[in-house]
Symmetry: C2
Subunit: 152 residues, 2 copies
DNA sequence: CAAATTTCAGGCCAACTGAAATTT
DNA sequence: CAAATTTCAGTTGGCCTGAAATTT
């Protein structure tokens, strides 16, 4: 009886299940890399602000699919550490203008480099061509679902 | 300014990030397919019992990387629905022998078919060859990390 | 007035820690 | 006695609902 080794074959048949396992593995690797202070969500918010510029919480929430109510404490974190700022939008005082600070951009650089290392560790068994191939396939799938989201 | 469309490019560069997004997308699809009653974790436990036979909670926990304390309530669920059973291991009364029931196997079939549909929806934009390619790459990466786990 | 934005209170699940109880 | 197994209590993060406060 093959009582050693891994997960059930019936689950491993599903790419979606494999991706779930690899996401978990990524979290383990992130833990080993000492990745505590800034979480992936913080990082995503900062990259969003850097790439698309200052935005309201609603805009960030919609774009990143982060729940608006969860975004509150995330931005509290970032503000407390001086990595992002909230100021009232004077054209529409219901909104904040959220922006990234210079310190935020710096922290972003550092953490993106760490993400790069994580990705390297995760994809260690693949050569460059295979990584590209994997990334291309994942991008196609993701793009397809993103398109469905906006167009219906 | 490209103020429409999706996630920040700096994050989309990482296959690990794309996989996280696709896992989330899978959960959304599962929700749409009316996938409430039996969660992925329940399913994984049942397939584990079916493939490897009755086992102690520790064995299940180790194999599936589900936390032993979380497994308690999972098995409570399965037992309550008559899908699995716990009986004391009389050779070592610290342990239970956990096993899947006929009803559990039946529920398993039904839910695996649903997982198949989920996978189809998720990978809709890929043709058969591309799905195989993706699955093969994911399997290689997963196998690599699983091997590292056991051998050090 | 209704609608939008932010915020809070609270729910759930998954991952974890620490400690108890029982048995070896 | 120490170690293993199961269980419970409690924390955290991510995702969710519902409702409040403010502003449009």
């Amino acid at each position: 009886v093959d009582t050693e080794s891994g997960l059930p074959d019936q689950m491993l048949r599903f790419s979606s299940f494999l991706m779930l396992q690899l996401v978990k593995e990524s979290r383990r690797i992130a833990g080993e890399l000492g990745d505590e202070d800034l979480r992936a969500t913080h990082l995503t918010v900062l990259t969003c602000l850097e790439q698309f510029g200052a935005a309201s919480q609603k805009e960030i929430s919609d774009r990143l699919r982060i729940d608006a109510s969860d975004l509150v404490s995330l931005l509290d974190d970032l503000e407390r550490r001086g990595l992002a700022t909230r100021r009232r939008d004077e054209q529409d005082r219901r909104r904040y203008q959220v922006d990234v600070t210079p310190a935020g951009r710096k922290a972003l650089r550092r953490r993106l480099a760490m993400a790069e290392r994580l990705n390297d560790v995760l994809l260690a068994p693949l050569d460059a061509a295979e990584r590209t191939q994997l990334h291309e396939l994942l991008t196609r799938v993701h793009g397809y679902h993103e398109a469905r989201r906006t167009t219906g």
